[in-house]
C-alpha cells in the first residue's frame, strides 16, 4: 500500500509543478527517499500535516492552496518537505530538468507582464488558502506532535515512514475527529 500511495502523491505533485506525469525514475526515487532519507524520517508529523496531506490526496486540485499556505505560514510542514523533495528530483532528472532551465519564449515586455500576473495570482491563491486552511491550522495548533523527530543521524527508519503514510491516508472526516483525541506517538 505504501509504494502505491507514494506514487499517487508523486503524480499529483509532479502534475502540479510541471504539468506532466513523472517518469518511472522520479517515482522510484521519490519512494526510495521516503524509505532512506534520515531527514525525512525525522520530520515531526503534526495534526496539520495529516490534514493537509489528506486534503491533497482526496482533492489533488487543492495542492496549490496547500503549497501557498505552507510557503507562507508552515514552512516546516511535512507536505512542504515532500514538495521540495520532488522539486529536487525533478531538477536532477531528464527530461524534467528543462522546466527549471528554460525561460518563456517571449519578448521581455510580455515576460514582465507574465511575471506580474503570476505574482498577483500567487497572492490571490495565498489569500484563498489562508481563508480555507487558517481555521484548520488554528484547530491543529496546540495539539501535540504525533511523531517526534528522531536523531537526524540515526539509520533510516522505514517503519516511521510507513506510520506517516498510515496517518496521511486516513480520510479527512476521521482526521478531524482524531484531532480532538489525545495525541498518539507514531
Amino acid at each position: 500500500m505504501l509504494p502505491d500511495s507514494l506514487d499517487a502523491e508523486c503524480r499529483v505533485f509532479t502534475r502540479y509543478f510541471i504539468g506532466e506525469e513523472p517518469s518511472p525514475y522520479v517515482m522510484q526515487k521519490y519512494r526510495q527517499a521516503h524509505a532512506v532519507s534520515p531527514v525525512l524520517a525525522a520530520c515531526p508529523v503534526t495534526r496539520f500535516d495529516i490534514v493537509s496531506l489528506g486534503l491533497v490526496h482526496r482533492f489533488p486540485s487543492l495542492v496549490g492552496l496547500v503549497d501557498a499556505y505552507t510557503s507562507a505560514f508552515r514552512k516546516q510542514a511535512l507536505v512542504r518537505a515532500k514538495l521540495i523533495l520532488l522539486l529536487s528530483l525533478l531538477e536532477v532528472s531528464a527530461p524534467s530538468y528543462r522546466h527549471f532551465d528554460t525561460p518563456e519564449p517571449c519578448s521581455r515586455v510580455r515576460l514582465a507582464a507574465l511575471l506580474v500576473w503570476r505574482g498577483l495570482l500567487s497572492v490571490a491563491t495565498l489569500l484563498l488558502a489562508a481563508l480555507l486552511l487558517r481555521p484548520i491550522d488554528a484547530m491543529c495548533r496546540g495539539e501535540a506532535t504525533l511523531r517526534r523527530p528522531t536523531n537526524t543521524h540515526a539509520y533510516p527508519d522505514v517503519k516511521l515512514s510507513e506510520a506517516t503514510w498510515a496517518m496521511t491516508a486516513e480520510p479527512v472526516e476521521e482526521l478531524t475527529a482524531v484531532a480532538h483525541e489525545p495525541a498518539r506517538v507514531g
Binding site: Y16, F17, Y25, K29, A33, V36, S37, P38, V39, L40, C43, G64, D67, A68, S71, A72, K75, Q76, A77, R80, A81, L83, I84, L85, L87, S88, L89, E91, V92, S93, A94, P95, Y97, H99, F100, D101, T102, P103, E104, C106, R108, L111, A112, L114, L115, R118, G119, L121, S122, T125, L126, T152, P156
Partner: protein, 539 residues
C-alpha cells in the same frame, strides 16, 4: 638531509612537503586523510549527467538524499554554509576523537586528504606590501614563492584594474572564457569604470583562479562542464590532493593516513615525539621526531599545541588573536539578463572580483562575484517568498540574471578572540574551544560596504532584492589565522619569520596559525607560498 614529520595533508602541508622532498629531505606525513568517494569522472556537463541513463539523483543528491535541503535542515552542519554535494561531504567528516565548540565562532574543520581546500572555490589573490606590513617580510621576499605556487597549481587571470590590489606574479595563464552574465557585467563596468572608480573607489576585473585553461602535468584544462562544486572531472580546478599524489612519487616520502595526532611530548625546549591514534589500533602510539611541522590548519594545529602544552606544563593556555574574514553575501538580479537562457557549459565558480579601496590601504574590501550557472536550485526556489510553483516560474525566467557578491572584510588580532581547550575529567581527551567577539564598529563597516556594493551593482544594471543580504557567522569564511603569530621579537606563543616556534626549537608551523594580520583576500595562495618559503629557507 633532515627527517621531517609533517602533520596534515592540506594545501600548506603538501606544498611544504613537496619543496622539502625536492631539496632531498626525508618527509613523513601523518594524516587522518578521509578519502574522496568514487563519483562520475567522465567528462560530461551538468545537464548531460542528468540525461545519460545513469543515476543522477545519487550523484547530485546522495545515497540518502542528504543533499536535498529540506525546510529547517539549513541548520545542518553542511548546508548552513555550502549545501555541500554528496561527493564533497567527506571533506567535513570529523574523527570521533576530535570535539570542538565555540562562542561567536562556528568553524568548518576538515580531516580529509587535501584538507579544506578540497572544497575551495579556487580564488588566489597575492598580498601586496600594504597588507604585508604587519608581517616580518615584504613582497620582495614572498613574491618568488607566489611564482612557484602559481606554476605548481596553475593560476589564470589578467593584469587589469584589480592589479592595483593584487601584484601580478609570474606564471599567470590567460583567463577562462567568461559566462554570458559575467561578460555582460564586465562590459558594463568597462563603460562606467571612471565613475565607479572615482565615486565609489570601486574596481572590478577578472578573478585569479586556480584552474588550468590548458592541460598540464596530467591534469586537463577546464572543459566548462559546470561541475566545479561536485569535483572537477578533468582535475583542472586545483585541489591539494593533486600535490599529495605528486609527493607520493618520491621515494623519500612516507604517507600514513588514518593517523590522528593527539599531541607531542617534549624534553626541555625540544619536541621528542608525537602521540597518535591510528584507525587500526585503539591505543595511543608514540613516533619519535627529528623536526616536527604542524600543517593541520590553524585550529587543529592550535589544538595539538595546546594539548601538548597542557601535558608538558599542566597549564591550559589561551592562544589569543584568532582571526577570520567576516563574509557578507549580497544576492543580486541583473535586469538586462532576465528572460535569457542559461548556458550549462560554463565555469561554475566566480570569474569576476571586485575591490573597494579604503583610507587604510590594508583594510581594502575584497569581493568575488559569482553569477548563477549550474547549481542545485531547489534551495533557491524554496527561499523565494512565494508558493513553490510560482517561485519555480519566476526562477527559470530570471535565472540567467541571478548572482551573488561574496564580500570579505579584513581582520586583526585582538586579545578578546582566542582558542583554548576545555578539559572534561571524565574523558581522556579535550575539547577545542573558540571564542570570538567582533569589533564594536563592525556593523558600521559592513553597512558601508553593503551600501557601496549595492550602489555599484545598480550602476551596472542590477538590483539587490530587499532583505536578502546575509551576514555569515564568524567561522564561515574558513580563513582562520593568527593564534601563534610570526614575530620579530622572541617571545612565547609566537614563531620566527620562518615559522619556527619560539617555545620548541624543532617545531615549525606552516599553516595560517602564524599570520599576524588577515587581509580581506582569500589566504590559501599566500599560505601555499609561505609554506614553500619556509621549506626553502628553514630546511
Amino acid at each position: 638531509m633532515t627527517k621531517i614529520l609533517v602533520v596534515g595533508s592540506g594545501a600548506t602541508g603538501v606544498h611544504f612537503a613537496l619543496t622539502a622532498l625536492q631539496r632531498g629531505h626525508d618527509v613523513t606525513m601523518l594524516d587522518v586523510g578521509h578519502t574522496k568517494p568514487r563519483a562520475a569522472q567522465r567528462i560530461a556537463n551538468f545537464n548531460e549527467l542528468k540525461s545519460d541513463g545513469g543515476d543522477p539523483a545519487r550523484y547530485f543528491l546522495g545515497e540518502q538524499f542528504e543533499s536535498v535541503v529540506f525546510p529547517g535542515s539549513e541548520t545542518d552542519y553542511y548546508t548552513k554554509y555550502y549545501g555541500v554535494p554528496p561527493t564533497k561531504s567527506y571533506v567535513f567528516k570529523k574523527p570521533a576523537a576530535f570535539e570542538s565548540e565555540g562562542q561567536g565562532f562556528e568553524p568548518l574543520i576538515s580531516f580529509a586528504q587535501g584538507g579544506l581546500a578540497e572544497a575551495w572555490t579556487g580564488g588566489v589573490y597575492p598580498l601586496n606590501d600594504d597588507e604585508l606590513r604587519p608581517f616580518p617580510f615584504d613582497y620582495r621576499e614572498i613574491g618568488p614563492y607566489y611564482d612557484v605556487a602559481a606554476e605548481r597549481i596553475g593560476v589564470n587571470g589578467e593584469a587589469d584594474d584589480l592589479g592595483r590590489f593584487y601584484p601580478v606574479h609570474a606564471n599567470l595563464a590567460a583567463p577562462l572564457r567568461l559566462d554570458p552574465h559575467s561578460e555582460q557585467l564586465l562590459g558594463q563596468y568597462q563603460k562606467r569604470a571612471r565613475t565607479l572608480n572615482q565615486r565609489y573607489r570601486c574596481y572590478l576585473g577578472r578573478s585569479r583562479i586556480a584552474t588550468l585553461t590548458k592541460p598540464k602535468d596530467g591534469r586537463g584544462g577546464c572543459v566548462y562542464c559546470g561541475r566545479c562544486l561536485w569535483g572537477c572531472p578533468a582535475l583542472a580546478l586545483y585541489t591539494p590532493s593533486i600535490t599529495l599524489r605528486e609527493c607520493l612519487r618520491y621515494p623519500n616520502f612516507a604517507y600514513y593516513p588514518g593517523t590522528y595526532v593527539s599531541h607531542f611530548t617534549t624534553r626541555g625546549r625540544r619536541v621528542e615525539s608525537v602521540v597518535v591514534r591510528t584507525s587500526d589500533a585503539s591505543d595511543l602510539q608514540s613516533i619519535p621526531v627529528d623536526r616536527l611541522v604542524l600543517a593541520a590548519g590553524t585550529l587543529c594545529s592550535s589544538k595539538i599545541f595546546l594539548e601538548s602544552m597542557l601535558r608538558a606544563t599542566g597549564e591550559v593556555v589561551k592562544l589569543r588573536g584568532l582571526m577570520d574574514n567576516r563574509q557578507v553575501l549580497i544576492p543580486f538580479l541583473n535586469l538586462r539578463m532576465i528572460g535569457q537562457a542559461y548556458d550549462p557549459e560554463s565555469y561554475q565558480y566566480h570569474q569576476l572580483a571586485l575591490g573597494i579601496e579604503q583610507e587604510a590601504k590594508e583594510e581594502y574590501v575584497h569581493a568575488q562575484i559569482t553569477t548563477l550557472t549550474s547549481a542545485m536550485i531547489h534551495p533557491i526556489i524554496a527561499n523565494v517568498p512565494l508558493d513553490l510553483r510560482t517561485s519555480t516560474f519566476v526562477f527559470r525566467n530570471v535565472r540567467c540574471g541571478l548572482g551573488v557578491v561574496n564580500l570579505n572584510l579584513c581582520d586583526r588580532r585582538r586579545d578578546d578572540n582566542y582558542v583554548t581547550i576545555l578539559m572534561d575529567k571524565s574523558r581522556d581527551h579535550t575539547t577545542l574551544y573558540m571564542h570570538y567577539i567582533p569589533t564594536p564598529c563592525e556593523s558600521t563597516i559592513i553597512g558601508q560596504a553593503v551600501k557601496t556594493v549595492t550602489r555599484v551593482l545598480w550602476e551596472l544594471g542590477c538590483i539587490v532584492p530587499p532583505g536578502m543580504v546575509h551576514i555569515r557567522p564568524m567561522g564561515a569564511s574558513v580563513h582562520y589565522a593568527g593564534t601563534i603569530p610570526m614575530s620579530a621579537e622572541v617571545q612565547s606563543l609566537t614563531t620566527s619569520s620562518e615559522g619556527q616556534s619560539h617555545d620548541y626549537e624543532n617545531l615549525y608551523f606552516v599553516d595560517g596559525t602564524t599570520l599576524p594580520f588577515l587581509p580581506a583576500k582569500n589566504i590559501t595562495f599566500t599560505l601555499i607560498a609561505n609554506a614553500i618559503r619556509i621549506a626553502e629557507r628553514a630546511f
